[in-house]
Symmetry: C2
Subunit: 221 residues, 2 copies
Amino acid sequence: MSESGTGEKTVRGQSAKAQAGRHDALADALASEIHSGALAPGEWLKQIDVEQRYSAKRMDVRRALDRLVQKRLVVHLPNRGYHVVRPDGRLAQEIRDVRVILETGAVDGILARVRGEDVAEARRLALRFESLLLDGSAIDLHDANIAFHGYLLGLCGNPELSALVRELRGRIASALAGQWQKRSRIEQSSREHLAMVDALAAGDAEALRRLIRAHILQRPE
Amino acid sequence: MSESGTGEKTVRGQSAKAQAGRHDALADALASEIHSGALAPGEWLKQIDVEQRYSAKRMDVRRALDRLVQKRLVVHLPNRGYHVVRPDGRLAQEIRDVRVILETGAVDGILARVRGEDVAEARRLALRFESLLLDGSAIDLHDANIAFHGYLLGLCGNPELSALVRELRGRIASALAGQWQKRSRIEQSSREHLAMVDALAAGDAEALRRLIRAHILQRPE
DNA sequence: ACCATCTGTATTGGCGCCAATTTTTCACAT
DNA sequence: ATGTGAAAAATTGGCGCCAATACAGATGGT
């Protein structure tokens, strides 16, 4: 097929990073709205509406929706349209279980690589989350939470694992959508964050695993 | 956005399964060719070539390529085209590590649910792989291997986990592409399959985890 | 002989229109 | 009133054309 050898014949020194197009931006925007609940579960995403709302071209709308289908955030029914995926308790539980496996599985790698300054940074992020308990919006808390967990996972030295967990987290955000309502739960989360930092500093793998499991499953051990 | 309430207003009793369109079939075909090596790493996938080779429409080609980009099987460079992803040793190792975490993490679930008939079926699949050592093509072996591992993972009762591992496996198939060349390695794989079945029958979690780790990393413990 | 620039060609990517399908509306019979 | 069926409106999805861009070859200058 197209004998240009094995490609790369005329490669210039450009960075191999594929830049995000307009459709990517639109997909991200829609994903954001779905996660935040602005687009309710089950709501139909008519192409014309999306096109006008984001002043995007029809083609970008289609691509973005197609991308969200692959991310399992929206469902596509041929000749009927796209709609936001509905929460599925069973699915959400399965994904949480996968996250427990992945994130507890990353603990050994984390502890093997963690340095003092990493612990300090993790604690800083945990404290930032705590400080936002008072005067932070739900979005702020969400972001701070993502930042903390992302940083912690990043310490394991496996970018693929981090990316995978990030994707999984995004996949169930809409399914839960109400977990951040209760203040007591958020405070509990913050305490767990700090406990995780302590376990991290102490190098206590077993404790860290226990904390992560409880944190993800949101149940006391 | 489009006040059709929360959707589902006029849902008929149809199954909610989204059927695969032409683009999906094309994407699968291309993925197959990439995995089998028919499409070499780095090779450019010109839209016209794909269009003619599979007698597909231009639009389906674009969608399929876009899908493969998301599956990380091809790389897209704007205004230049799509080409098969090149093997990346570091990435492949990261993905193998993730697989180890996931598949060893599934062991407890597997042992908790496995029944006698499941063990028998797993052994049957392992033996089928072994029998293909003599008179099976590389494709046959590949399929039998997938079938065995897929069945084993399916026993953990978490479809999401199974799907995730299947996707991860597909993501590095091209990066290795040569691991099935050495006959000795295939025979070793078959022995490991049978050892895994034995550990499964014995309910020996630790042994099963050790075998899975060695099997994925392709190194003796 | 070698390098830079320019022209021609091939390929990608965007855009608009129209057919196919579905949903809604409305008229009509029961 | 209620259910049935057909016409109308709205929406999705496909296809072809054309501009924008990159690639290859030719041309000319040093």
